[in-house]
């Protein structure tokens, strides 16, 4: 076997390994997202009800905020993004 043949084989195996890993990850993440249906949820009542990315929303149900104060929320909300 020439050096070029061995080198070609070695880099091909490395390419397949890395691309296979990436492709498997992409498909697994898509399947998980598919089950969860929603990718990202945020709520003002509680941050704990927001599922991690790619996971189904948790069963936690935030209580209705009776004494809602918009000013308090705006202080904590970065309106400039």
């Amino acid at each position: 076997m020439t050096f070029k043949k061995v080198f070609s084989l070695a880099i091909f195996i490395a390419f397949v390994g890395l691309c296979g890993f990436e492709l498997t990850n992409q498909i697994r993440e898509s399947a998980e997202r598919d089950l969860a249906s929603v990718r990202y949820v945020r709520g003002i009542a509680s941050e704990t009800d927001a599922p991690a990315q790619g996971q189904a929303p948790s069963g936690a149900t935030p209580k209705k905020n009776q004494d809602f104060n918009l000013d308090d929320i705006l202080k904590e909300t970065d309106l400039d993004g």
Binding site: F15, R42, K64, D78
Partner: protein, 380 residues
């Protein structure tokens, strides 16, 4: 069984697999919006549609506590980005969700980590906040912000059915330059070109690498093909450059019977060839089984992207990492490996695992097969 027969059976099988994935993906995504709204939170129940893009439900255990949910979408880089906002009876946005997106996961994660959508929480639907786009993921973040604003406007009733989205002047320039590059490639490959074709090809490849790669960071990939086949472009895109490049590559391929894109325009190919010119090496040795593995990769990725209706699923190429530093650790390692290997063999990625090769192989095989059949018919 002859090699030709195996190729023909495989070509038909690939077509059937892609068609099945496309149909299954369409069935899967039908009625998904209502299901996704139900999944935003378990405390929202009895969701029903009350208007175009507007839904109504109530809080679990309190039928009098109405919640209004609006869903809107805006074109991102890889297709529509869908966002839902949930407004309570006080008129405040109390939840926001990224319902669906086909943009590349790395870009989406960057926008979500910057808490762009969180800025809408606690604000009034009639006065949504002004949020800036995220640097490095401008198209994805702009799409999310605009979709959230549209959803808020749906609740206010100030937005009807969304019309076509205007393409920015920058995108028009990009598209114009892409067309110009293909025209130059077409001219160089023609018999009317009387100057040195080798130098002209290298010059064009360098120009394309600088313009499409380093300047714009846009390059057609398997994800662009998935985007084209899944039909997301019909709903509008923030950038059409990669798609235009792909369509032109196919048009030129069928017109000239030559793969001019890979030879003269591909920016990543240009990068590898530039490095290879330093050491003046020959291409790697590609065996038949390597060719089949490469085809298997492309088919698997494309089928997954069509089934999940997510073009970024087909993205296992290093193009984003090479020019925009976007991608996972595995893709970073792959990019470094390719660039180092380019000093030892000529264009290693193009020769061994680039999905463009199986795609053009497939098109050439089908074209030859079909045209040969017609020729035989004419002769008889």
């Amino acid at each position: 069984m002859s090699a030709k027969t195996v190729e023909r059976i495989s070509a038909i099988a690939a077509l059937i697999i892609l068609l099945a994935a496309w149909i299954a993906g369409g069935v899967r995504s039908k009625g998904a919006t209502l299901e996704r709204i139900g999944n935003i939170s378990e405390e929202i129940v009895d969701v029903r549609q009350v208007g175009p893009s507007v839904y109504e439900g109530h809080r679990r255990g309190d039928a009098g506590d109405k919640l209004c949910i609006a869903v809107a979408e805006h074109p991102g880089y890889g297709g529509p980005v869908q966002v839902a906002v949930v407004m309570n009876s006080a008129g405040i946005i109390e939840r926001i969700a990224l319902v669906d997106t086909t943009d590349t996961t790395t870009y989406v994660s960057r926008v979500l980590d910057a808490a762009v959508l969180d800025a809408f929480l606690g604000t009034s639907a009639s006065r949504p906040p002004k949020v800036d786009a995220v640097t490095g993921a401008t198209l994805s973040s702009t799409a999310m912000i605009k979709a959230a604003n549209k959803a808020a406007a749906h609740i206010k009733g100030t937005v009807g059915e969304s019309g076509p989205v205007a393409v920015s002047p920058d995108e028009m320039v990009k598209a114009g330059l892409t067309v110009a590059l293909f025209l130059a490639a077409f001219l160089i490959s023609s018999r009317f070109f009387r100057w040195n074709k080798t130098y002209a090809r290298l010059g064009l490849l360098t120009a394309a690498t600088v313009i499409l790669g380093f300047l714009y960071g846009t390059q057609p990939s398997l994800a662009s093909l998935a985007l084209l086949l899944a039909g997301f472009w019909t709903k509008g895109l923030a950038s059409y450059t990669a798609l235009i490049c792909l369509v032109l590559a196919f048009v030129v391929f069928f017109a000239t019977k030559k793969n001019l894109y890979c030879a003269m325009i591909c920016p990543f190919g240009g990068l590898q060839e530039g490095l290879g010119r330093i050491t003046k090496r020959s291409p790697p040795e590609r065996t038949a089984w390597m060719k089949w593995i490469s085809r298997g990769f492309a088919l698997t990725a494309l089928s997954a992207a069509l089934y999940f209706r997510n073009p970024s699923d087909a993205e296992y190429t290093p193009f984003g990492m090479a020019f925009s530093f976007i991608g996972s650790t595995a893709i970073f390692a792959l990019t470094v490996l390719i660039l180092v290997a380019s000093l030892v063999v000529k264009r290693p990625w193009c020769a061994l695992l680039c999905p463009a090769t199986p795609v053009f192989d497939y098109l050439a095989f089908m074209r030859n097969w079909l045209t040969r059949g017609r020729k035989k018919e004419k002769q008889s």
